[in-house]
């Protein structure tokens, strides 16, 4: 009898161990996805309850004190704000699964529609900017590291750190304002605002990229310096293969994993700063809608867009984790063992 039991626990143990060893990568993926879903749920709950519980009548606040009470009541009923809180939350949750992100408290228009109209412009701005930043910053960081390794060319190194430090301290919105003042208002080279034709992209993309470019290239330089002093780079040099091969095939992938970890955070930050840059350039994306909604106290839109932003950032974080785990299997191994 006892033997029987212990045999069974053994089988269970073996099974568990097998599953543990099965695919660490899949387990890693599963865990990260779960983490993201939990985070999303928490954010939805916080966004819902805190806004409901923060006191006062949001519809009255949005429509203003002069509007007739019957209009406020009608809008409340339309938005389902008179149901019990838990019913509201359930409706809200199921609504989100059906793509319903709520509605404007002022106009009653659906937030999902707004997102459909405006999301492409935001993704375009953030995406183009991110690609440009990566394309400039990583090779620049690697290049400066190659030139300055072993304490050579101290002058070049100092001016690189100094200039990028200065540029990185300029916030996106401020650079946007400066660009508008110089190139749009004074020189008339580019349109002041809006999204119409290639020329209108130049200033917003510049405003988005310059600071990130400076900070990422500094990080990339440090990472590249660490990588270049790694033993395997010396091993690669011992084969007397072309230097470009050593840098691009041996150093770059190892440097990318570290740089991308920070790059992911950078992409999230760029999504956030796109809010400000969109306001400066009146760019027809989510950000300007968000700022407008804040200004008009339209919490229906604010809540819906906040969820969209949170989702974008969680997806970016997950995507970066997956890319990293493919590039460098050791990260997943480290996490699961």
């Amino acid at each position: 009898m006892l033997d029987h039991v212990s045999a069974r626990t053994d089988t269970v143990a073996v099974f568990l161990r097998k599953r543990r060893h099965g695919s660490p990568w899949l387990r890693f993926l599963l865990r990260r996805t779960m983490r993201m879903l939990v985070a999303m749920f928490v954010i939805i709950a916080v966004a819902f309850f805190v806004l409901r519980l923060s006191g006062g009548d949001p519809v009255r606040a949005a429509l203003g004190a002069t509007v007739d009470e019957s209009v406020v009541q009608a809008r409340r009923a339309q938005l389902g704000l008179d149901d019990p809180l838990i019913v509201q939350f359930w409706n809200y949750l199921t609504g989100i699964f059906h793509g319903d992100l709520g509605a404007s408290l002022i106009t009653g228009r659906s937030v999902s529609e707004l997102v459909q109209n405006r999301l492409p412009a935001t993704l375009e701005l953030a995406g183009i900017s991110f690609v440009i930043v990566l394309l400039i910053a990583v090779p620049l960081g690697l290049g400066v590291a190659i030139l300055t390794q072993g304490n050579r060319r101290r002058g070049a190194e100092l001016s690189f750190t100094g200039i990028t430090g200065l540029i990185a301290a300029i916030p996106e919105y401020l650079l946007g304002v400066a660009l508008v003042v110089v190139f749009a208002v004074t020189l008339h080279w580019f349109p002041v605002a809006g999204r119409s034709g290639p020329a209108s992209y130049v200033l917003p993309v510049l405003a988005m990229t310059v600071a990130s470019w400076a900070s990422l290239s500094r990080i990339a330089r440090v990472e590249a310096l660490n990588t270049l002093s790694d033993d395997y780079v010396r091993t690669a040099r011992s084969k007397r293969i072309p230097a470009s091969w050593v840098y691009f095939r041996h150093a770059l992938p190892n440097m990318l994993t570290a740089t991308l970890t920070i790059g992911g955070t950078l992409l999230s930050t760029m999504v956030a700063s796109s809010v400000l840059v969109e306001k400066v350039f009146n760019w027809p994306g989510l950000g300007s809608a968000f700022v407008d909604a804040i200004a008009t106290k339209d919490y229906g839109i604010v809540q819906g867009l906040a969820l969209v932003y949170a989702a974008i950032i969680l997806v970016i974080t997950l995507a970066v984790d997956i890319v990293l785990s493919i590039l460098d299997r050791r990260t997943t191994l480290l996490e699961t063992t």
């Binding site: 072993g150 101290r154 200065l166 301290a169 916030p171 084969k239 956030a272 919490y299």
Partner: protein, 645 residues
């Protein structure tokens, strides 16, 4: 205090301190001096450009923009400071919590922190401000909250680092009180990184708060900070574009000030105890051996004459390798022995042209297979060397690229040097792995280094050194990281490869026993110089060894006759510090036979009676070795020797 002076001597540190001082001065005194003036409206001068009366122009109510910019320093800076304090206090509390709670909570906690950290500061701050209602107070609270996770993460890392440290464990064991443990051991070790982080956070917080005010959710009129001023100026950008200059410059100035201060503080802390490096100009040219007649090396595959390797340091050039002369005949296996820091690896990496960036390699002569390696331009040299030198590195885990498959790393050599196609090169890689007795070489060639065992990685490295059919193999401590049984197999493999291909080899080790088994000739290095060059057979008759250091090494080598009841002989004392120029024989302070000549004149290696070379003023061969080794006081540091006398 001295540390502070050193910090201020660094130009970036001094400039950033001055910039922060200006900001603090403005924040403290500007509102008192110009506060009232900055609020004064002037309806006759609305939205004016720069003029003598108003250097930066005026705003929509005719108020002076320069004065407003200066006065706004208090609110801008003060808000950032308070927000950082909120983040710091709550972050530290939150970060210290999990060390009290169990590991499960700790894991949950760290995943909450990483998710929280994934959200951009600005977005979280914006949402919090919306929830709390736009005002400067809610902006400060919101920003403080966004700083909590990064401080918590920092506190967590620091407390686990300090908490697990040996000095704290030692303090606990000695019964140091808890409060004293904290003030004397924990605080000093976590204070510095936290100060750096606080400085950077004030800068970042200032920028973020200005963004919030710019969006209209931060400071509300009639109060004003730089962000609010920028927002107002931007609304009038067509009528008065210059109004953005004042607050814009102020924001960037503050951002640069705190950012640079934080970074130079961090750099200063990193460099403490390590020292920087002198600039090339101050260093001057690398020291080299005086010109003298070249030692002839007939028929040698490798001829090294007067090789020196120097590295720049804070106090000038450090020379870990000085005036090294030796040669290797085709097919010969030469061992290099010496303790760590004796320069053996550095010397051989210089021979293989693989010195670290920044190193200066000089030599009277460095000939390999008929080429003067140092006289050739690097590109030509690279081509000529090609695959003629194969290197086996010490630590197989770090020597292989973790991101590339082992097969790919081997195949690079045939691909680039034999101009093989991808497939042909891959086949050669598999064959090379099979040669070093790796099972299932096809499958293994597609694996990454971390999937190999230590012995397998070392064999893969040997395969890599072989694949180009080199004429010389340089093996840098090939067996140090391996356990003894694997060691034997790797050594046998190395010897077999040399015998089969007729390649010569230089094997570096600190273990003279390993070399005695493998080599025909042994070079003994001490303090960057070769002190003895001898036939390996001499080790069997230790009384014929000439240099006291070699004799001591041979003595520390146990054999079957060694009396196990006595501790093995060791060599007391430390090798000399090579950052100062060495006068006389490097071994003199530890040598029982040292004379005044030894301490003042460096002995050159000269041909000796035992058939090799020795660099010593008092060669000891002929003395029966038991005579020296019976008494442990014979080979001792100078200090102990005096005490004995």
């Amino acid at each position: 205090m001295r540390s502070l002076l050193v910090f201020l001597r660094n130009p970036l540190g001094a400039i950033s301190v001055a910039m922060v001082a200006v900001l603090v001065f403005l924040a403290v005194f500007a509102p008192g001096i110009w506060g009232a003036q900055a609020m004064q409206t002037d309806t006759s001068a609305l939205l004016q450009g720069p003029s003598d009366a108003h250097p930066l122009g005026t705003d929509g109510l005719g108020r002076d923009l320069l004065l407003r910019t200066l006065v706004a320093a208090r609110l801008s800076l003060g808000m950032a400071l308070v927000a950082t304090l909120i983040g710091l206090v709550f972050g530290l509390l939150l970060g210290a919590l999990p060390s009290v709670l169990g590991p499960r909570v700790q894991r949950l906690f760290s995943s909450v922190i990483s998710t929280w950290l994934a959200f951009p500061v600005l977005l979280v701050a914006m949402l919090t401000v919306i929830l709390l209602g736009p005002s400067s107070t809610s902006a400060v609270i919101a920003l403080g909250l966004t700083m909590v996770p990064s401080f918590a993460r920092l506190a967590q890392t620091l407390s686990s680092r300090v908490g697990g440290s040996e000095y704290l464990a030692a303090a606990r064991m000695m019964g140091v009180s808890r409060s004293r443990q904290f003030t004397r051991y924990v605080l000093p070790n976590i204070a510095e990184p936290i100060i750096v982080n606080v400085t950077l956070s004030i800068g970042g917080g200032l920028l973020a708060l200005s963004s919030l005010s710019f969006l209209g959710v931060g400071v509300q009129p009639p109060d004003y900070d730089w962000g609010r001023m920028l927002s107002e100026a931007f609304d009038q950008v067509y009528t008065n574009p210059t109004a953005v200059v004042g607050p814009g410059v102020a924001v960037v100035f503050a951002g640069v000030a705190f950012g640079t201060l934080g970074e130079s503080l961090a750099a200063h802390l990193r460099s403490q105890g390590r020292g920087g490096v002198l600039s090339r100009r101050r260093l001057g040219p690398a020291p080299r051996v005086e010109d003298r007649d070249r030692t002839p090396h007939e028929d040698a595959l490798l001829a090294v004459d007067g090789l020196s390797v120097s590295f720049p340091s804070a106090s000038g050039w450090v020379r870990p390798v000085q005036d090294v002369t030796f040669s290797v005949a085709p097919g010969e296996i030469v061992g290099v022995v010496g303790e760590s820091g004796s320069g053996k690896s550095v010397a051989l990496m210089a021979v293989a042209q693989l010195s670290a960036a920044g190193a200066a390699v000089t030599a009277q002569q460095l000939r390999f297979d008929g080429d003067d390696v140092l006289d050739l331009p690097p590109a030509v040299m690279k081509k000529r060397l090609g695959t003629k030198i194969g290197v086996v590195f010490q630590d197989s885990l770090t020597a292989l690229n973790p991101a590339l498959r082992v097969g790919t790393q081997l195949a690079e050599i045939p691909r680039f040097h034999a101009k093989d196609g991808r497939r042909a090169a891959q086949e050669k890689a598999v064959a090379a792995l099979r040669d070093v007795a790796i099972d299932e070489p096809e499958r293994r060639s597609r694996q990454f280094p971390h999937e190999y065992s230590g012995g397998m990685r070392q064999r893969a490295l040997i395969a890599m050194s072989q694949i180009g059919k080199p004429r010389l193999i340089i093996a840098d401590e090939p067996t140090t990281a391996l356990d003894v049984t694997v060691q034997q197999r790797v050594l046998a493999l190395l010897r077999r490869e040399c015998e089969e291909t007729g390649a010569a080899a230089i094997v570096v080790s600190h273990d003279i026993a390993v070399l005695a088994e493998l080599c025909q000739r042994i070079l003994v290095m001490y303090a960057g110089r070769i002190v003895e060059d001898l036939d390996v057979r001499l080790l069997a008759t230790p009384e014929k060894l000439a240099h006291p250091y070699t004799r001591a090494l041979a003595e520390s080598l146990p054999d079957l006759d060694t009396d196990r009841s006595h501790p093995l002989a060791t060599i007391p004392g430390e090798p000399p510090d090579l950052s100062r120029p060495l006068v006389g024989c490097g071994f003199a302070p530890r040598c029982a036979f040292a004379s005044e000549q030894c301490r003042t004149v460096t002995p050159e290696p000269v041909v000796h009676g035992h058939g090799g070379r020795v660099a010593c003023w008092h060669p000891q061969d002929g003395t029966p070795i038991d005579g020296i080794l019976g008494e442990p006081v014979v080979i001792v540091g100078a200090q102990t020797a005096q005490e004995v006398r």
